[in-house]
Symmetry: C2
């Protein structure tokens, strides 16, 4: 069956966790999952569990989160290398579900272009389901996506000065 393109974007909490949930669901159904991370949005806590699940593979291509600093040459190289690898993975059909975690952020910070990202997605083995996460999804990506959820932040406790907690935010 033809795989869809799902995009989870917006400023609210829940994009990467939703992708993790999709990976768990797919793994439970015996599907093979590849998670490529363009920015280290997943934390040791969840990777710890995901790595123990036989049919989930995770690879990190991102070096930084670009909150405190601008991307450097090595960030661009890491992202481009990641997109190349994912391109091969998507063509091969070796995985049923491929998650490009924070790929929108990699585009937003010009590490990769939205055209490159879309080309890689379009040239996939057509049975592969693709999930793209990250704030600031470009209109061009939304255009070619089959499903888009915009996670709107209505309230966030960061506003109350609560910092990241182990097992909850990281």
């Amino acid at each position: 069956m033809k795989g869809m393109v799902e995009v989870y974007t917006g400023d609210g909490k829940g994009k990467t966790t939703a992708a993790i949930g999709l990976a768990i669901r797919a793994a439970g159904a015996g599907l093979r999952i590849f998670i490529g991370q363009f920015v280290k949005s997943m934390k040791y806590s969840e990777i710890n569990i995901l790595e123990k699940i036989d049919n989930i593979e995770i690879k990190q291509y991102g070096l930084n989160c670009f909150i405190e600093k601008e991307p450097e040459k090595e960030d661009v190289e890491a992202a481009k290398e990641g997109l190349n690898e994912i391109s091969d993975i998507l063509k091969s059909g070796e995985y049923d579900l491929v998650i490009l975690d924070e790929a929108n952020i990699a585009v937003y910070f010009d590490l990769i272009s939205v055209e490159e990202l879309i080309e890689v997605i379009k040239k996939r083995n057509e049975e592969v389901e693709v999930v793209v996460t990250g704030r600031k999804a470009k209109e061009e990506l939304i255009e070619i996506a089959d499903l888009v959820t915009d996670m709107k932040e209505i309230k966030h406790y960061y506003q109350k000065g609560i910092t990241a907690r182990d097992g909850i935010e990281r």
Copy 2:
């Protein structure tokens, strides 16, 4: 540390999967997680994996999804029994993260009242993190929540006539 109240609502895809992701993250950090489901929104695929993780416990209180039929007396009883059990669990502090999956839907269909739900949440051991999912979160719940993400459906392939697929939607 004081636990927060997180609400994931809206019509878009990603609410229950985000809750699963939170459970995986918390489990990876060694926290203890209880997932109470008021409607069978989680499918065998993911439950299959979640049940294998030592520190995650799942219990279903919901009988139906109310898409095709109206709730009956036994649905109300199951939801009320669920809320009672969760009330004890929240007071005990035995779990660090308690997920009330689709509790908003249980409120929307008048199986439980929003006042009952809020009372149970407020009377918890204050260290417990609470996650409530489901469309149609009531304003009163949003009011007392620390974090609210509204998952807006921008595009959905159901519109294209794609039906549920194993490992992807179920």
